[in-house]
Symmetry: none
Subunit: 118 residues, 4 copies
Amino acid sequence: MEFDQTQAIYLQIADLICEKILLKQYESNSRIPAVRELAVEIAVNPNTVARSYSYLEEQGIIYKQRGIGYFIADNGYQKTLMLKKNNFIKNELPKLTKQLELFNIDLNELSKLMRGKV
Amino acid sequence: MEFDQTQAIYLQIADLICEKILLKQYESNSRIPAVRELAVEIAVNPNTVARSYSYLEEQGIIYKQRGIGYFIADNGYQKTLMLKKNNFIKNELPKLTKQLELFNIDLNELSKLMRGKV
Amino acid sequence: MEFDQTQAIYLQIADLICEKILLKQYESNSRIPAVRELAVEIAVNPNTVARSYSYLEEQGIIYKQRGIGYFIADNGYQKTLMLKKNNFIKNELPKLTKQLELFNIDLNELSKLMRGKV
Amino acid sequence: MEFDQTQAIYLQIADLICEKILLKQYESNSRIPAVRELAVEIAVNPNTVARSYSYLEEQGIIYKQRGIGYFIADNGYQKTLMLKKNNFIKNELPKLTKQLELFNIDLNELSKLMRGKV
DNA sequence: GTGGTCTAGACCACC
DNA sequence: GTGGTCTAGACCACA
């Protein structure tokens, strides 16, 4: 898998899990891949995956059962959505607003740019 | 001055200069503060400012004259706008699009959220 | 190691790496010495080596893996040869031509002088 | 006038004078332009030109008469040629030889490249 | 272990 | 005065 150089790999892996939750590919209380399994799949050091999982556990998005594995938390979808959306509104939106002003991009143009991407 | 802990200070200083250029506070071929001067002003080590300036010079946004100082490049506004805007469209826009989809935020809601901030 | 006083040490270290690549002592995707390791070996401050490596990374000659180290880029030999050779042809050759004219040295004499050195 | 960023301006000015001597545009004991005059002509700080002249004086290539100006030394052509040529053979030739080897450029190719330039 | 960044202070060449 | 470079030493995030 390819990683963005500008952000820690373990955070990108965590985002990957969150994305799957938000896309409803993972349901509450379903098991997610084992640390070593995922590590092999995406060609990363197992420590790095372990760090991602423990980070998600801190956030309350997943929980672990010793000797068995990691599972999506109850209401995993809602929790993830809240966390990510709030973070977006609080941290990224102000920067975005500022940038759009500096670049003279209004919402119409933004819309077009985004559609161009899609 | 206050700095974001998550990004290198020298990059934040570079962004500061770019912002002033985009706000037309600095014109082409006008001199920008001396390394030591700015360092004192924003309470940072001179090496850090020097690193910012040399970074901006690599980008072609400023140029230096030996023994005299740093100056905004010809077409500094255009160059800066291009670099920053292209970077935004290439790197940030895809992430933004993806996030908005995942969070079920459409442009109307985005617009409201942004106005709420202002 | 001995350094030329007239050129920045970090550039001389960069040249050293390039030379090893051109002499095929380093192959693509092979790891080069750690910053601190090389710093000890050539008796230089680690910051200086770090600067060399980050300079070479900008040139696309080496790349880094977080927490692991620096590696020779794909086609490192070709890239290095291109960069250095083009730089030679563009920047040094015109000066050389001019000097040879001024000194009345033709290619025969140049050849003899060079052999005398070897 | 345009200056190479990689070398001190005062040395480039000195080279300019040497070049004129080698091209026999300046003869022994003829006066060269006044410091201020040349400074205006090439748009440089007078201090910088003064430094060039005093550098050339140290080399014995020019001499000054107080209140009158600077003059090409006796045998200015020979002195300049010796100094420059010896410096070339001693300092530049070894580097050149090494580079040509690394780049796999033989004298035939060098000759072609140089003619391409001319 | 790896590299990245920052501070502090020094010295230098240059204008 | 200007910027460029280097050393020394520290702290941090990451794998």
